[in-house]
Symmetry: C2
Subunit: 545 residues, 2 copies
């Protein structure tokens, strides 16, 4: 060891990630099952809704080899746009090769997920990855069986086939077998993940077929049929905002631009920079606007970068974002939680460090909520000082299940900090579900696990305003409900006497023989009822609801 | 967006890590300063002590550009083995190229750290990385100024020079400038990191020159001179243990082996497999021992892997490990904390899943401890139910500063769980420092941050045994000290009367004239003192201590 010279060697990206698989969540057999399911389902959602297709997704988990009960086979089928056959080997068999490196909101982690699942299958069971896929335009279905050559970071095709389509089917079926754990705990994590996904994708048809934890050869089916055919607006690619880039990115953009002058580089490659702004930036940087961008030296580049940072701009456009929308949030909460009351809210687009984001959400209360939440509140712990707040966190439409307590969303709705009782008048025994969705071209995750969102000031402030708006709406409902109940009690008291009084009055005003005139009696009853309702400020609808 | 076909592209590894720099701890300007310091110092330690050189390391942090006060320049100089000039560009300018991919204990994270610092400098200040280096054998010092071509994952050499050496100097000087934060908090993190490093490297000479947080152009110097020239034993490379590999690794080994038969493959490429064991494994797998390894088909490979996992072996050798050793732990704790009492302990090598590990540590109490701990207990929080336990965590000689509460080491010494008071008789007001070092060829880190060690059963058990041994030694000391104090009080009572009694007796036994015989008096005094000491079980040494 003290020979004095070290030897060096190059790792392929596959080898690196294979050695450091915990980066993508593949840290143990239990987590690996959850992570594989998640990656495949998110790929399926990205292959459907983003392209205007109403998703139909089927997950099948099975134990196919009785001699290896810890070999878990995971298969996901979707009706997405499919992967063109020429891209399949690289898209699944080459690490750091992806369609996801674009300036718009996507699910998924670095486009690494599926490949990590394939590597994990390979290193635990040694079984290859299988895929069937067909795009909308082709007449064929293609089948690949492949592994990743870890040393070369290259796909290794073991089998390849194709068939002519008999139907118009398009989509993708992926399948692999990992060494995993299928316990009550893992089953619950998978089930909670699917349910929370179903809440924010009411436009998707999701079926999950899961093996029974107790009994061999038995399965349970979780069905979430589509309840609306409304899709969220798709994200659009956009040019970067001048505050959203760093110096290295600026250099890369200059190397790739077709612009002939720095001035046109600025106006054509960025959003929110017009001629006036560009001219001012270049003046502040002391750079000739007509200079070809690639002739800038290091010093000029730094001056340009500095001048760009010091300029004021319009906030970034929210076009690359794809929020769920209040309507879909309402539908999803209603379908899965069946509460008595739902309110939704959506904040205006905002931004931090040049990255646009939107915070939106909903609040649910009463009805079947409490019993239905039990199955979905996997990681929530009842606080000591109620009310019981169950937080459903989402970032770019992905449910976040781990590390709740370190998330900015929890830091806001935490019952020990948020005035649920003092300001929003909840009772300690109340149970409330709060759904919060943060979408951004760059979600400010805390650490690499991508399970918890950091306390960025701008985001925190929007989350707080959202929570306040939701809580206010809930308070209004609860107070109104209380008022209605009190009023109804008063009303029923009045109503008990109205017929009698009406009858007496009708008799007096009647034909003199002491018998009440029915038409007068009816009119009087209605009049008195109207007066009573007006007196206690209750609408006819509310009174009878 | 609904065009229906996605376009794909390949990322270079540099581009990937540049985009996901939080993987290596470069998540914000504050953390980036700490992380850069850490990476460079750890590289310097790996370039010295592992090769039998007593480390001399100087860290200099400065703000060199008054117009950019957030540009922080970080320079580290060491007297290590140096980097041969032909390797310098790739070793610092190409991601995933490293000397650290070996089967032995090293510091550092994936060999990625320095490159991430260089990328971070590039993308925040645009300034290149500079290095001076000379190996022991060469007559020259080489200088490179370089950047990383992110798109190509290639070094880009901006300047290159060399000089003939006038002295025998060897070592490396690295320097870069990042956009960073230099606040009280960041300064404290850096200082705590250096002090905790100094504790377990008493054989190193470490100087840190840090800018004042308050005053421009002022510096503070932290000096940790070498206090011993004893080095920990260096790690030796070893063959992998059969339980420490996975199926994918087995395949890679088979592809690279020079062995002609499966039998000789097993005996030559693994530790703890002799002919008998190899023969039994192959019999259980149903494989002909004479088969050339590369002719095994997938099914045979899986059978081989399964048979290997089901076999019993000797535990893995601890040769690839480099524990600090009790002596050095004692010296380090004494030098930095100046306590009244230190005890150390070291557990025998153990293993989990085929990976060897050693747990060792020390405990310190009294003296100047409490006042000196204040500066070093950055992240420790005083519990409500004392004693106050400050945990100094180390993994492969790296101090761990973040995420203490989720670490297996904390889970053991946590005063709310460990019986510091009931069993080990500490007072609620006591302050104790506990140092624990886990070294392994694969430290079971929790997540990717590599700041906290997971609760692996075998590791947890060894940490618990270590903590118990340390606590027992401390209890013995404290109880003995108490006993000595009580005995001394008794003794002083006896001693007050001994001269008088001795004088009277000497007079009686003396020359009859009533005056004591001095020699008899002296003898009697000593005898009585001996009897008194024996009676109260105190050694002459303890009585006078």
């Amino acid at each position: 060891m003290s020979s004095g010279v070290e030897s060096f060697r190059q790792l392929s990206p596959s080898e690196f990630f294979y050695r450091n698989r915990e980066i993508a969540g593949f840290s143990n057999p239990a987590r690996a099952v959850y992570q594989t399911v998640r990656e495949f389902i998110e790929n399926s959602l990205d292959a459907t809704e983003v392209h205007g297709i109403l998703p139909v997704i089927t997950l099948r988990i099975s134990r196919e080899d009785p001699s290896n009960p810890d070999h878990i086979t995971i298969q996901v089928e979707d009706n997405g746009i499919g992967v063109p056959p020429q891209f399949i080997p690289d898209a699944f068999g080459r690490v750091l090769y992806s369609s996801k490196y674009k300036f718009r909101q996507t699910r998924g982690m670095y486009g690494l997920g599926a490949k990590m699942a394939i590597l994990y299958a390979q290193l635990t069971t040694g079984k290859p990855f299988e895929i069937y896929s067909s795009t909308r335009k082709t007449r064929y279905i293609y089948y690949y069986k492949l592994m990743i050559d870890v040393k070369k970071n290259q796909p290794q095709i073991l089998e390849l086939a194709s068939w002519e389509k008999r139907s118009k089917w398009h989509g993708t079926i992926v399948k692999l077998t990992i060494e995993g754990e299928w316990s009550r705990r893992v089953r619950d994590y998978v089930a909670v993940y699917i349910k929370r996904t179903a809440i924010i994708t009411p436009y998707a048809d999701i079926t999950a077929i899961l093996p029974s934890v107790e009994k061999e050869d038995e399965y349970e089916v979780l069905r979430f049929p589509r309840v609306t055919s409304m899709l969220p607006r798709p994200p659009k690619e956009a040019k970067p905002h001048p505050l959203g880039i760093d110096l290295e990115m600026l250099k890369m953009m200059i190397n790739e631009t077709g612009a002939k002058t720095v001035l046109s580089f600025l106006t054509s490659e960025f959003q929110r920079i017009g001629e006036v702004t560009a001219t001012r930036i270049l003046k502040n940087a002391g750079i000739d606007p007509d200079k070809p961008p690639r002739t800038l030296d290091d010093d000029e580049l730094q001056r340009l970068y500095k001048a760009m940072r010091e300029e004021k701009y319009w906030a970034p456009t929210d076009e690359p974002l794809s929020p769920i929308g209040e309507e879909l949030i309402r539908i999803g909460l209603k379908e899965i939680l069946r509460p008595e009351f739902i309110a939704t809210a959506s904040r205006k687009p905002s931004s931090y460090s040049g990255h646009p984001f939107i915070v939106e959400g909903g609040i649910a209360y009463g009805g079947e909520l409490a019993s239905r939440l039990d199955e979905i509140a996997q990681d929530s712990v009842k606080g000591e000082t109620g009310p019981y707040i169950v937080l459903l966190r989402y970032a770019n439409k992905i449910p976040l299940l781990y590390d709740e307590k370190t998330d900015v969303m929890w830091s806001i709705v935490d019952p020990s900090k948020f005035p649920w009782r003092s300001v929003y008048k909840l009772e300690p025994t109340d149970t409330v579900a709060v759904l919060i969705h943060i979408c951004s071209t760059k979600v400010p995750y805390k650490g690499v696990g991508k399970e918890s969102v950091a306390n960025v000031e701008e985001v925190e402030s929007e989350v707080r305003l959202l929570a306040q708006e939701l809580a206010r709406k809930l308070r209004e409902y609860i107070q109104r409900k209380k008022r209605v109940q009190e009023a109804r009690q008063k009303l029923s008291l009045f109503l008990r006497y109205i017929p009698e009084v009406a009858a007496s009055l009708a008799a007096i005003a009647g034909n003199g023989r002491g018998t009440p005139d029915p038409s007068i009696q009816k009119e009087l009853t209605e009049k008195m009822r109207e007066i009573a309702l007006a007196k206690i400020k209750l609408s006819e609808y509310e009174a009878s609801a």
